[in-house]
Amino acid sequence: MSGLTIAEKILSQKSQHSRVEPGEVVEASVDLAMSHDNTALVASIFSKLDVDKVWDPNRIAIVLDHRSPANNEQTAKRHQTIRTIVQEQHISTFFDIGQGICHQLLPESGLVQPGMLIVGSDSHTTTYGAFGAFATGIGATDIALVWATGKLWFKVPETIQLTVNGALPSMVTAKDLILHIIKMKGQDGANYQSVEFYGTTIERMSLGSRMCITNHCMEMGAKTAMIPFDKTTKQYLNNNAGFSAQPVFADADAVYTEKTEIDVSDLEPLVACPSRVDNVKPVADVQGELIDQAVIGSCTNGRLEDLALAASILKGRSASSDVRLLIIPASQKVYQDALHKGYISVFLQAGATIVNPGCGPCLGLHQGVLAKGETALSTTNRNFPGRMGSPESNIYLASPATVAASALTGEITDPRGVLS
């Protein structure tokens, strides 16, 4: 009998089966259920289930990040409803407005541990796979069912193994690597599947870079994306809230639906062009495209290392007067660290607007919505039509280095040229 991948092993453990096979539907016990501003919808569905108490208030986390602070009265009412639910149900983990993005706050708080089964009412819940957890996005009804029972059905996914080797060239980042992979696989190239990452490039990466990769795997449809636990994961957990779980590793004879090796030694800065995340081109191909707004932030690229990279390019320089440069730290901790290291001062001197920690303009609700005909270059993860505002606006996605370099010139610019 063959071995198991990480996804198969975690779902076996959580469904109390000795082993599960891809395609099988299992009912599994959830370790952590996260929801954000859409918790008002979750609560309204939960109330229709006629269950008085949530299954475990210590395994529920709620974060107000999508419209934070409230962008209108309707949002304010929803936030009010959510605060009441938190109190009534004694939810132990609640981050009110301004604390940051769920996908940064949960890892920072030590709530994400290897081997866990985590669900979130946000598609980018795949982010937590950077810690070797099985983490996947679901809708509001599914979260309400988990609140009621602590369980949910899962179809066991097939697993793709991606092995990434080589040293990333200067000014080429995890973002460029994952854009390269999404181009290779296509927008639905990993639909319903789990992705496991291996190789020296991944082993050398910080947790921040790893989270950028597992976050973005959603943009090729992945159900979950995992990087096996190692000494870097252990160090991150020990530096934050501690290490309290049992890591899960794939068996040496696990069966993969695909095995691909990637060498990054010659990788160059890339851009996802409107209006598909897999419409990826070298920066050189779109160099000179004028931009109105440059955004550095989000659950993909709003971490300290992203701000450090942007600050190294912006230091002592000013953004083009034709560009609105928005910087959105992913959490209060990232903001504070950036402040202490002097990055925030660099950004202010460059003419940036610092937006409070949260999702910012990523989903077109507030804090930098695009008008018809405008173009943004952003470190966020989606460029679908209308994502950031008008359906007739354009979004390009790139690394913090490329966005910072482009903010200086007012047009899409290769960061390697700016530094030299």
């Binding site: 919808l41 598609s123 599914d142 927008q187």
Partner: protein, 161 residues
Amino acid sequence: MIIRGVALCYGDDISTDEIIPGPYLQYDSPEKLASFAMRGCDTTFPEKSKNAILVVGKNFGCGSSREQAAICLKHAGIQSIIGVSFARIFYRNAINQGLPLLQSSSACEMISNGDEIKITLETGEIENISTQKQIQSTPPAPFLTSILKAGGAIPWFHQQK
């Protein structure tokens, strides 16, 4: 379970940002959400969606986990969606809302806008009454059909008690 309706056809990779753009998520009422269904790609959709069957290409519903994408389509009158493939969160949300999804790689070529369609959910048989052609699709797994027959996840949950 027999489902009948008139075909409304769209293409590949329609994201939840197009099905229900972010700003409209401020509405709670399913009817209000329905009035903005598909606003990101077809502003005339609500005028023709009543009792319609959506026929779509690959990766329908990609992007955000917003359940309002399934809610707005169901309340706009969509009876079922036949697609080459569906993004996985949208798939779960639609089943939970009691909106049946069937997978077929050939439906797009064999069904045109306005064709009269009859679906047998359990078997996945699709009859294009207008052209008198039969299409075999992949129906939802039996477990999911039980949720659909109950009318969605909430009534199904009560049945399980």
